[in-house]
Symmetry: C2
Subunit: 270 residues, 2 copies
């Protein structure tokens, strides 16, 4: 069976997902076989099995999720905010199993994982939200789009109903890293870390990632979500961002040749 | 109330956690008030509320968790591996609510978050494991220690019962980033991405992070877990790693002064 066909069959439980580069990337990594249950098996197993039921959000509900996310930043920071913005409404709309899901479980991911400046916590919360509602494989395809959105758009976009600070600027991070994203924004805004402006900005970014995830889950529910972003792990033959020169300068290590040979596993015979 | 006292009261539900720099850092970020429930409230709410019950692992069980994590890398990659290594045994030892917890929900975090090379997925899976068993605040304190362990030790350490490849080398990443960690190790080992060696190495690293997390959860159960690592967000006044020159070269931006002023919020009156 072709990898593409295999993946289409596995991923498209909840809608038609056309094969695209991002999906092909995921497919390539699933050679070993992800041991997840089918939808039929899932229904027998209760809340241990993904995906949970999803009901489309209205435009008003997506905006409400953004406001909840922004408010919740001040209760549990960025990862909790992005996840809880969606889950609070799903608890109301769907009920179980969201009501028994511990939505504080990625709170540690704030500040780029316990403050280490790596993956922006909003993307971890948003990734869990996508995975809860779409399962691990489609959830990852959605998260890949959201990460690309995070790295390429001028943020924050969302204007909450109850801002805690007035913000002057948006900035493009070119990276999913908390350190680069918040650092570039603070420099452009002219404020420091833990300033009211920085905290409000990160609350708004949490809203942006929550809302983007819900928009893609809505597309999936409508059967026309189509992944468009090639995961950098395949573009660059190593897990990576696409802003290579920002750390490496002009001396970017080659990924083809000796240290790219691993990918030959995928090119031959699959 | 002093920030330190406030936090000691909130964090030490399951054991004596002496105030340390890492904890002080967490405390500082909780100014806004994390809206989590108390232990008494938790018992009424079922599986939506953290922490779940924890029972100490024996040395044999920790080793078994490592072997499960290593094996599970080949089913769902690094984040799933680090989380499921602990949860599979907790399902057997404790039962509910672990049996109804969807342990595939951070699978997307592999490859440094959907393949973007940021936070190593093992640290996301391990952070969720710590949070499930110790709650959001103590879970983060544990995760901060595990991230520091990841960044400073020569990895992988664990030798699984059923290795898929023979490995020659260990390497120190100096970073929690997937891209730097796996890149440095592949260069030292002389292999490529998705080579059998790289995949086995990442499975072993997942075991290492799962096991380190369980060791710290055991210490917490024994009432002598003491955080020792200052979260870089406070050491550097911005979410960050500690390998500044690896990306910045000698031109490291100052964090005191204009762009560090946010921390003055914490120094005055709290």
């Amino acid at each position: 069976m072709e990898t593409k066909e295999l993946l289409d069959g596995q991923v498209s439980r909840r809608g038609l997902i056309k094969s695209a580069a991002g999906i092909a990337g995921v497919a390539a990594l699933t050679m070993g076989g992800l041991g997840f249950l089918s939808g039929a098996e899932a229904s027998k197993k209760g809340s241990a099995v993904l995906p949970f039921p999803y009901k489309k959000f209205t435009a008003a509900e997506i905006k409400e999720a953004g406001n909840i996310a922004h408010d919740n930043w001040f209760k549990g920071f960025c990862s909790f905010a992005a996840l809880s913005g969606g889950v609070e409404i799903l608890r109301r709309k769907v009920g179980k199993p969201y009501t028994s899901f511990p939505m504080e479980l990625t709170t540690f991911a704030h500040g780029g994982t316990s403050g280490w400046g790596c993956t922006c916590g909003t993307l971890i919360g948003a990734g869990v939200l996508a995975t809860l509602c779409a399962g691990p494989k489609t959830g990852e395809a959605i998260n890949n789009e959201v990460v690309n959105f995070y790295a390429t758009e001028a943020l924050p976009i969302f204007v909450p109903d109850h801002p805690r600070a007035d913000l002057k600027t948006q900035s493009v991070s070119n990276s999913p890293l908390c350190h680069l994203s918040v650092g570039k924004w603070m420099k452009k805004e002219g404020v420091g870390f833990l300033s009211p402006q920085q905290m409000d900005r990160c609350g708004r970014v949490a809203a942006d990632m929550c809302m983007k995830t819900l928009e893609l889950l809505n597309l999936l529910a409508d059967v026309y979500f189509e992944p468009k972003t090639k995961a950098p792990v395949f573009a660059n033959e190593i897990p990576s961002q696409n802003n290579c020169t920002e750390c490496h300068g002009p001396d970017i290590p080659k990924t083809s040749g000796k240290f790219g040979t691993g990918l030959d596993l995928l090119k031959g015979g699959h």
